[in-house]
């Protein structure tokens, strides 16, 4: 007859307790050991906080995966340096100018398959236009930011930025490193020349814009506007609206000639081994409830037409076809082909 388990000695009790403790600690890791990992890029700031706290965990739970987010710039050189068959990212989230550069290098797929991302059917046309690689999940509007306590009134046009009364308080960007600055340069060609590609007109306009204070990060421009160092500047709407409720004497102006779009774009890398999950992620980020949460956190205009924002966001963001029609999309493919030449020229224009 087989012996039953013997009496519980102290040694057996301690061994069993240690095993149970180790098992308890290791259980989550064991349970998720086989969970696939989707490697994406993502912004920091409030976007990163909401993604980490809510959006990301919900995606992980629904799709039984791990989301690994790289928020350390620069993304494109790292993707470029990684192997094409084993890219460092599965999904690249960045602005449109970088996405075009990535597409030209074959680092990202130029289009998203609507059969694999059904929510593409509900986005505004700009989100999947021929000016976009992948899909734009949000956009900001680039226009003019101004102080409301300096007596500036009746600002309706881009051309007012050139008014001599803003000498000394005018703000712009280091064009070679900033998307808003690059988009603004193309706008100068439209305002004073034959169109976005009229670089001669753009350069002449930039010369006349001096004196101007230039910064590399949009965050720095926001602070200069808040401190009063700048009274009128090129800025995107979310850089003004995110201070809503803080009683700041700043406002955003949508110029009559139109606002430039600053798109938040997602693309999938061709060498990704997680294509199904990557497409699921893109589709997830286009869900109305996800779009609403992020839009109301960072004041981005959602790409999904079905999103219903709360009243105060709806009033200011681009949430109707009429408002969206004011968006001017930049031809980034054209710009990137000439970037070196443009950078050299603008560096000469704004040399200290």
């Amino acid at each position: 007859m087989m012996k039953a388990f013997g009496p519980l000695s102290r040694r057996r009790f301690l061994t069993a307790s240690a095993s149970l403790s180790i098992g308890t600690i290791a259980a989550p890791y064991v349970a998720h050991a086989d969970d696939p990992t989707l490697r994406i890029t993502g912004w920091g700031g409030k976007w990163g906080e909401v993604m980490k706290a809510e959006i990301g965990p919900a995606f992980e739970s629904e799709f039984k995966c791990k989301l690994q987010t790289d928020s350390a710039f620069p993304y494109l050189p790292k993707l470029q340096a990684s192997s094409r068959s084993a890219p460092i990212y599965d999904v690249l989230h960045t602005n449109s100018n970088e996405q075009w550069a990535a597409a030209e290098m074959g680092l990202v797929e130029p289009k998203i398959d609507p059969k694999l991302v059904p929510n593409l059917a509900d986005v505004y046309p700009y989100a999947i236009s021929d000016k976009i690689v992948g899909v734009s999940i949000f956009t900001s509007a680039i226009g003019l930011g101004m102080r409301t306590d300096k007596g500036y009134s009746g600002v309706t046009s881009w051309k007012e930025l050139w008014d001599a009364k803003y000498n000394g308080v005018r703000g712009g960007y280091v064009i070679p490193v900033n998307s808003l600055g690059q988009a603004f340069l193309m706008m100068c060609g439209t305002l004073f020349g034959k169109g976005q590609t009229d670089l001669d007109a753009a350069y002449t306009a930039l010369e006349k814009l001096k004196p101007i204070k230039i910064v590399d990060f949009t965050g720095a421009m926001e602070k200069m506007l808040l401190s009063g160092e700048v009274g009128m500047c090129v800025i995107h709407d979310s850089g003004i609206y995110r201070y809503d409720g803080q009683n700041q004497p700043t406002d955003f102006v949508s110029p009559s000639e139109g606002v430039l779009s600053l798109e938040q774009v997602l693309t999938i890398t061709p060498g990704s081994k997680m294509k199904e999950l990557a497409n699921a992620y893109v589709n997830y980020m286009l869900r109305p409830e996800v779009q609403k949460r992020l839009a109301e956190t960072v004041w981005y205009s959602p790409a999904n037409k079905k999103v219903k924002l709360d009243a105060k966001y709806d009033a200011k963001l681009l949430t109707t076809p009429e408002k969206v029609s004011k968006l001017i999309q930049v031809d980034w493919k054209w710009y990137n082909e000439r970037k070196d030449e443009i950078d050299q020229r603008v560096n000469r224009i704004f040399r200290a």
Binding site: K46, D70, A81, G219, K223, M224, S227
Partner: protein
């Protein structure tokens, strides 16, 4: 017979011997002090600006400050991202200091004593990371790790930091070895000490100033290292400088100043701690 010159000289000496000595005019000393103060102010003024920014309650840089507030320090210490980055930076800096010190001191000893062929070339190679832009070093290491398919592990980051801090340890240790009297080692060995015992009881205590100076440099350079870390940090394991850089792309408020003040205080604590434990005064001269 006295000549005119000698009589004049004698008269001058007589005059000098009876003239009472006047007060010294230390103009040279004041000028020297003034130059040193100007240099110190030039070096420390940016730190003062950072402290002002960190204590200013407004969410943007403003001078003169409108008040004193600790809100940015609260935000810094309450931020999980910043706290993780701070501890991770410390962890990497300590590991880097240990590895750079052991490798650098060993290399310096081998170079000084080993009679190796091409010593100068080897020394130049070991010091070359100081001459290369660190961002290229970071990118090259990143590509290497990708090629050997190891991802971006913490040991890879420590290796990158060790690469750019090793020259400091090598250089400072070589400096003390240059003046080292090898007869002391010979005497120890003649008296029966083994090579290992000679190294730990004779050589190491005498080269400690150079090794320690190099170790301090290695710690500070690693803690503040940015360009190499930019490519080698992995998601969720970012060093403090990288986290600060990413933060200021989206938010330029006093939290940056608070983080900087904490880094400065940390550097002070390290140096003061070393002075209290090991004693740095006698190691000021190399």
């Amino acid at each position: 017979m006295q000549t005119t010159a000698s009589s004049s000289l004698g008269a001058a000496q007589q005059t000098a011997s009876v003239r009472a000595p006047g007060p010294a005019r230390p103009y040279g000393r004041y000028i020297y002090l003034g130059i040193n103060i100007a240099i110190l102010v030039f070096l420390l003024a940016p730190i003062a600006i950072v402290v002002v920014f960190a204590l200013n309650p407004t969410p943007f840089i403003q001078f003169p400050p409108v008040g004193v507030s600790l809100r940015w320090f609260e935000k810094f210490f309450a931020s999980r991202d910043f706290m993780h980055a701070l501890w991770f930076s410390l962890e990497v800096a300590v590991l880097t200091t240990v590895s750079a010190t052991i490798l650098g001191a060993s290399a310096a000893l081998a170079l000084a004593r080993g009679n190796l062929p091409g010593t100068r070339l080897i020394v130049a190679t070991m010091l070359s990371p100081l001459m290369l832009p660190a961002i290229l070093t970071g990118l090259a290491l990143f590509q290497t790790y990708v090629l050997i398919d190891v991802g971006r592990p913490t040991w890879g980051l420590v290796a990158g930091h060790t690469l750019v801090t090793l020259p400091y340890v090598v250089r400072t240790t070589l400096a003390v070895l240059h003046n080292f009297d090898t007869r002391l080692e010979e005497a120890a060995q003649n008296l029966g000490a083994s090579p290992l015992r000679t190294f730990f009881e004779v050589t190491l205590p005498l080269i400690k100033p150079g090794v320690l100076a190099g170790a301090i440099f290695a710690f500070i350079v690693s803690f503040d290292q940015f360009p190499v870390s930019l490519f080698l940090v992995s998601p969720g394991n970012e060093t403090l400088p990288v986290t600060l850089f990413n933060y200021l792309k989206f938010d330029l408020d006093g939290t940056i100043g608070a983080a900087s003040v904490v880094s400065i205080v940390l550097a002070f604590v390290v140096v003061i701690g070393l002075d209290r434990t090991v004693g740095l005064r006698s190691y000021v001269k190399l």
